[in-house]
């Protein structure tokens, strides 16, 4: 009985749990409550993914109002996969959050922090699961508004300006998105994504529809921080509390890219929009510029969190590059990297979060000699860094391997060369931290550091362990991603 309502339960649970935090108020109890809720969401999304892989797309009509009039939740392989990403990252972030939040946020505000984290999770899961374009906007704003608050919890006063700038950019992005939805509604009279996918191809030449595509693309690209619309990202990641950075870096931009994939391959799927309009070459060049500009700027950062933030801009480039190939191989590579990068960046930001917890700073120069003082944490950082570079036996290698294969398959060998070259830039910026951490002696008067608390080490190693596991045995991720790509591009049964 209840299993039939899994798609909505997934959203309603954190949504209703969030305000309960305000009544609980006690910092520790609120944390336990949030852990319980997020851990309940993970089995649900895994169950959904298993069921989708078994028996195909699940459609859930809200209040039994049939689409296209009612709102429907439509779970296919792609969004079931993204749901698993979001809920599993939330599951590991929660234990990590406990200690770091205690350190970084005043005790009387902690309950508000968890309220916002649960709301943000609701929004991200909602964007992923919904089959209604306007409903997507509402969830987009739920997640964005809570994200602005989460960022402003940062200790540094620059967190406030970072949150403010993100608010301005994010609102413009979301407003562009509703302009796009509105324009599509004007022509088709529908808001349901599946219904739009049927109606749009017949009128693809319509100028309004093309304008709508433009608005949707720009709006979602802003949210996904695709170069050159990434300006909000570095400061937001750098000054947000550690747990928030981990959560956002692994989920928020990924979900925006998911929404973009939905627009391009589902709504505009039948007309192969990437091939018709010069969208593809535009996306491809932006992705390549993102990869190189992001990596190059990352090299010159003096702050470890900012460095990783710029690296995120570059990694988003890889994902978009894969998607812009418009082939099953390319989209598979994009989706695999979506997952792998969530693990890698989550693990790396957790490592930086743990060192910040002990030394109280995330400046690279303050990390001198930290490799010997906090060996387990920095070992995790090195493993994550190798994965980011794309060493064999790590998840990053799988993504790059498939990305390069997809490029060669389509005959774009210069792109394959560029991907390899860009890995060298990754080596440089990862090395900068590793060099200072291991080869620069710590200041003389330094006292011995305790290892990071177990509650920080465990989630970190779970994520890093997962990147190694999925680097050695990538059959599951590849199977899911290629199924998702086939459903998107070729249609038909999952």
């Amino acid at each position: 009985m209840i299993s039939q309502h899994l798609p909505i339960l997934q959203i309603v649970l954190p949504l209703l749990a969030a305000p309960v935090c305000i009544f609980i108020r006690h910092p520790k109890m609120v944390w336990i409550w949030s852990v319980v809720i997020t851990w309940m969401c993970l089995p649900m999304s895994i169950e959904l993914l298993v069921r989708v892989l078994d028996s195909g797309t699940i459609v859930y009509e809200l209040g039994s109002w049939a689409a296209p009039w009612g709102i429907e939740y439509r779970v296919d392989t792609l969004n079931a996969f993204v749901l698993v990403i979001v809920s599993s990252i939330s599951t590991v972030v929660m234990p990590f959050a406990h200690k770091t939040v205690e350190r970084e946020i005043p005790a009387n505000r902690i309950y508000l922090f968890y309220t916002m984290l649960l709301l943000c999770m609701t929004g991200l899961l909602g964007i992923t699961i919904t089959g209604d374009a306007f409903n997507l906007f509402v969830f987009l704003e739920i997640s964005s508004l809570s994200t602005y608050v989460l960022i402003s919890f940062g200790k540094d006063r620059r967190a406030l300006t970072a949150a403010y700038r993100y608010l301005i950019m994010g609102t413009i992005g979301a407003t562009f998105y509703i302009i796009g939805v509105g324009l599509m509604y004007m022509v088709t009279g529908s808001l349901n994504i599946t219904d739009l996918a049927n109606l749009v191809p017949a009128i693809a030449d319509n100028r309004t529809i093309q304008a709508a595509l433009g608005f949707l693309t720009v709006g979602l690209a802003l949210k996904a921080a695709l170069f050159p619309m990434h300006m909000w990202l570095p400061n937001a990641y750098a000054y947000a509390p550690s747990a928030v950075t981990v959560f956002l870096a692994s989920t928020a931009t990924k979900v925006a890219i998911y929404a973009f994939i939905r627009v391009v391959f589902t709504i505009f799927g039948d007309i192969d929009i990437l091939a018709v309009l010069p969208v593809r070459s535009l996306l491809m060049s932006l992705a390549v510029v993102a990869i190189f500009a992001g990596s190059a700027v990352a090299i010159y950062q003096t702050d470890a969190k900012r460095l990783l933030a710029y690296s995120s801009v570059a990694q988003i480039g890889y994902i978009v590059l894969g998607v812009s190939f418009d082939s099953v191989a390319g989209v598979t590579a994009g989706i695999v990297h979506l997952f792998n990068h969530a693990l890698i960046k989550g693990g790396l930001f957790m490592a930086i979060g743990a060192t910040t917890y002990r030394i109280g700073s995330h400046k690279i120069e303050d990390m001198a000699g930290i490799g010997k003082r906090m060996p387990f944490t920095m070992a995790a950082f090195v493993a994550g860094g190798l994965s980011l570079i794309g060493m064999p036996l790590t998840a990053g290698f799988i993504s790059k391997w498939y990305l390069i294969q997809a490029a060669l398959e389509a005959g774009w060998w210069p792109l394959a060369v560029l991907v390899v070259l860009s890995s060298l830039l990754t080596v440089i910026y990862v090395w900068r931290i590793v060099e200072i951490a291991y080869f620069k002696p710590p200041p003389q008067d330094v006292k011995k550091l305790d290892p990071a608390p177990f509650s920080l080490l465990l989630p970190m190693w779970v994520l890093i362990g997962a990147t190694i596991y999925f680097g050695i045995d990538a059959t599951t991720t590849l199977h899911v991603a290629s199924t998702a790509a086939k459903v998107l591009l070729l249609g038909g049964a999952p």
Binding site: V138, T161, Y164, T171, G182, L191
Partner: protein
């Protein structure tokens, strides 16, 4: 009802650009929020305008009325207005905190302070 043609859409585009310009060009954080509001309101108008059917009335069943305006975009925009209010209040709350932390709400001054850190 007098037919207004595309006049509404012209107004919407002009408003949209004014709002957008304020957001980009003004350094005062409160003024930026005002610009953002103008920008959002223009989108509200876009939705309301597209729902209007010429000669149609409010969608209430009554005798002798054939044409109704489409209520759906109006309802949608009610949601968007709520979102807009939330965004504005959150934005203003942030401005208050920024004023506390930096002592100014001019972007240029804040940037100078940030670069010194």
């Amino acid at each position: 009802m007098i037919s207004t043609g595309l006049l509404n859409y012209w107004i919407i585009v002009v408003l949209m650009m004014i709002g957008f310009y304020i957001v980009i060009a003004h350094g005062n954080l409160v003024k930026k929020i005002v610009g953002l509001n103008v920008f959002q309101v223009s989108v509200f108008l876009l939705y309301i305008t597209m729902g209007k059917v010429e000669g149609g009335t409010a969608p209430i069943l009554a005798e002798g009325i054939q044409a109704y305006s489409n209520p759906l975009p109006h309802v949608l925009i009610l949601t968007a207005i709520v979102v807009g209010v939330a965004t504005t209040s959150l934005g203003l709350a942030l401005v208050v905190r920024i004023k506390d932390a930096y002592g100014t709400i001019e972007e240029d001054d804040i940037e100078k302070l940030e670069n010194n850190e």
